[in-house]
């Protein structure tokens, strides 16, 4: 099914077209969410929200960009909103409900292990994901889209509404920050 046929089917509410859309994009959407959120259940939840949003607002899609770019944009926005809301909840003390009587956290966020990592690189990748999580939003997004999704600078620039040199700068800064953080790690 071509992109035009897919769009035509989606605009007419055809279930077959929607099934095809999910089939075509579920890996990209899920993996982007997984890279940004570093949590399987949250990534699945957000991936579902992305497809629901696509289904509901397909008529607003003006085809100024590729369908994949539009879907990536929705995914990144939803993931960043989810992370912001999580951070907000933490800041305003919701997390205190997770503490027991002796003030010890009942829930410790587990170390994230991406299921697609090669076994011999698992330990280093876990450290890298932890450090990526500390990067500013735009650097983190560019890094994940480039390293996890293996998107080109042009595609990342379209998703982030910026230019290719700006994406290059973001990735350079992300690497510099990561190097700095690695050097600060205990030996």
């Amino acid at each position: 099914m071509t992109e035009q046929e897919l769009l035509y089917g989606l605009r007419n509410g055809e279930e077959l077209a929607f099934k095809e859309l999910v089939h075509q994009f579920q890996l990209s959407v899920f993996n982007t969410s997984l890279g940004l959120l570093q949590h399987s259940a949250d990534a699945e939840d957000i991936a579902q929200e992305v497809f629901i949003q696509v289904y509901r607002s397909i008529k607003k899609f003006k085809e100024e960009a590729k369908l994949s770019t539009w879907i990536y944009k929705i995914t990144v926005t939803k993931c960043l909103n989810h992370l912001r809301s999580k951070k907000r909840k933490k800041r305003f003390g919701f997390i205190s409900s997770l503490f027991g009587n002796d003030n010890t956290p009942l829930y410790e966020p587990e170390e994230f292990n991406h299921p697609g990592i090669q076994l011999d690189k698992k330990e280093e990748a876990a450290i890298l994901f932890k450090l990526v999580d500390q990067l500013p939003e735009n650097q983190r997004t560019a890094f994940i889209l480039n390293k996890v999704e293996e998107l080109s600078y042009r595609e990342i620039a379209a998703i982030l509404n910026t230019s290719e040199p700006a994406v290059d700068a973001l990735l350079q800064r992300a690497k510099q920050n990561l190097r700095k953080k690695i050097n600060e790690l205990p030996p």
Binding site: V22, Q26, F30, E44, A47, I52, P115, A125, L178, R179
Partner: protein, 103 residues
């Protein structure tokens, strides 16, 4: 140190895509069907925020009334004592004590 840096930074090389969760499409359809069922809109007069605000307003009115009731007797005394005196002085100033003419 550079070796460690490079090892960590290059650890995502050869990363395989994670498989989407099992039954992803079925779960997605289930969620869409659940969300499309119109949820009964709560009558806003019964919403906790509205009820709380009304109760708070009633409480404020009660406190205000009690404070005013406690003040009233004193004010009445001052009004009664000041009232006739000021009327009399007003009448004197403007020579309005017409009753004297008929006495």
């Amino acid at each position: 140190m550079n070796n460690k840096e490079d090892k960590i930074l290059n650890s995502l090389a050869g990363l395989q895509k994670a498989a989407a969760p099992d039954f992803f499409y079925t779960r997605l359809l289930g969620r869409m069907q659940n969300e499309s069922v119109p949820q009964q809109k709560q009558f806003f007069l019964l919403s906790p925020v509205f009820v709380g605000a009304v109760l708070f307003l009633v409480l404020i009115l009660n406190v205000f009334s009690i404070v005013q009731l406690n003040k009233t007797p004193e004010q009445k005394v001052t009004v009664h004592s000041a009232g006739p005196a000021s009327l009399q002085s007003f009448a004197d100033a403007y020579n309005m004590n017409t009753a004297l003419v008929y006495e």
